[in-house]
Symmetry: C2
Subunit: 332 residues, 2 copies
């Protein structure tokens, strides 16, 4: 039996379980020349998928209503008529939210379970690590001695960004939503300071205190009022890396914020959005560097692994309540 | 007799005449070794001066209350004990709002009245031209065939930006506040289209219509709701040049706007503020290029020349009502 998760309807505001539909099929999968059967092992759930569930203009095509959702998946090859893959291989690729599926191998790459846990290939050695590394180095252009602020710091990307900042010799301040997360930023990921935005009355002042020399690089995963508070603390020539805006993805009305423009003019400051694929030509260098740091124990990661294919929608929804620590992965 | 204009008090909101004070002195000016006496001929009044009248953190030191205001000035050397300047020279520099003053020649450069009108050295061959050229080329990175939108397009910087855009082969759309200005953008400065924001109900749609291929470069001189409307029309990898935010300089409350962050993330787009002095190393190249285009009649400029030293404060105030066409200059 194969299970598939379809987009039933486009979410309004925060996604709910009723936006998704489970379909079961009993048909045996068969393959032709060049094809293989893949069994889903781990499924990546990511905030950016919310964007694809809307039909608004964005950097990728929206998901179609009534069709399967897809994201980055680790799978095992059950059977193969494709020359490049053999039974027993572990692979990674953009695959449908299906327990089993047929693939022609396009965009599928092998991963090595002896070098890292399989789930790591969805995180620190996958999109997460690449997003952190490329966004920070290519746009943030961090320089030793500068101050880096990271929002969504306990999240998958944020925790890696902060660690890279420390490796590169910056003062690193993380913003997260619970005391437990803030503690983890310091004890596990080596941040210099952490701020709990849920218990801090005046974020603007709290950031000023934590960053007495001002903010040179802001790696922004959230994009809401927290980012407004950072704005008041940016330095001349500061760089903001706009990686995500999870705080406003679910807004049904056009979100308003403090106008950034006078701050940019006054400080000769920049803001730049990106998606990781903009830096594809940097991927080999990035993976090599991340693997080295990982092997040298300079980099650690956390992940929240939810068990059960049927829990994929809820795991995705939980992202918007900050229930994950680090990379959110579902073990199918 | 010498007249001086002091900053009497810091303006709240829009500046008024009572923020300025005129002082008269009868004392004869005398000079020592290295000094010279300068007679003010033309005074540049610019929106950025508003920022210096506040005591908020900015890219330059605020003016002091009770002290003379200064800006870029063209002057004539009346007497000199400085080896580099002789009586009769025409010079340019950051000078006090005084009818006559003593200078040691620091930061003062000669200008040639035979090559261009003296007032042009405050505009197209001065900060205005440099701001337009450096901002557009260094941050906007315009490419032939792209679409450029300019706000404050009939202003000193905007009209030059649009012309450079046309020289470089872009489609250029200007936004201005009167039908007369919009007409001038097209007839005098060669813009492809113009939009009057005062008579246009839906700016978002008007921009979409004028820029059917979307906006690749946005040169932003205004920073208010007009810029929000442009935001809805930016293309993937678009660049916004944040040159000014005159629409919000007089705000006494923190201005709010549509949140730019989700737009930047979705479009891998950038915004960057600057002041012209960031690009000092580009000035020789820029002046050479601007002079060449001017000589070739590829570039024209407009200026509003107000007569009378005593009208400097009003000319400055009028900037915020858009009363100038092109560079605002006071002939002392």
């Amino acid at each position: 039996m194969t299970q598939t998760i379809l987009l039933k309807k486009r979410p309004e505001g925060k996604p709910t379980r009723s936006d998704f539909e489970f379909v079961k099929e009993d048909k045996e999968l068969t393959i032709n020349h060049n094809e293989m059967i893949l069994k889903t092992l781990y499924v990546s759930v990511d905030p950016y998928l919310r964007g694809r569930m809307s039909d608004a203009k964005s950097y990728v095509e929206p998901f179609e209503v009534g069709k399967p959702i897809h994201s980055l998946v680790i799978a095992k090859v059950l059977d193969s008529k494709n020359d490049k893959f053999t039974e027993g291989d572990y692979v990674r690729g953009m695959l449908n939210w299906k327990t089993k599926q047929v693939s022609k191998g396009e965009g599928i790459t092998k991963v090595d379970p002896s070098k890292a846990d399989l789930s790591a290939y969805l995180g620190i050695l996958g999109m997460t690590g690449l997003t952190a590394y490329c966004g920070l180095t290519e746009i943030g252009k961090p320089k030793k001695g500068e101050t880096l602020v990271v929002s969504g710091a306990a999240g998958a990307v944020g925790s890696v960004v902060g660690q890279i900042g420390k490796i590169l010799g910056l003062t690193v301040i993380g913003i997260a939503g619970t005391d437990e997360k803030v503690e983890m930023l310091k004890s596990k990921f080596g941040f210099d300071a952490g701020i709990n935005y849920n218990t801090t009355e005046n974020m603007k002042e709290a950031i000023a205190e934590a960053a007495p020399n001002g903010v040179d690089v802001y790696f922004d995963n959230v994009g809401g009022p927290i980012s407004d508070a950072v704005l008041f603390n940016i330095n001349k020539f500061s760089r903001t890396v706009n990686c995500g805006a999870i705080a406003v993805y679910n807004n049904t009305e056009q979100p308003k914020s403090v106008s950034v423009r006078p701050f940019l003019v006054k400080n000769s400051a920049s803001m730049q959005g990106f998606i990781v694929s903009n830096f594809e030509n940097k991927f080999p260098e990035a993976i090599k560097q991340l693997s080295t740091w990982l092997a040298e124990d300079k980099l650690t990661y956390s992940e929240t692994i939810v068990e059960g294919f049927e829990n994929i929608p809820q795991a995705f929804i939980d992202l918007f309540d900050g229930k994950n620590k680090g990379k959110m992965v579902v073990k199918a």
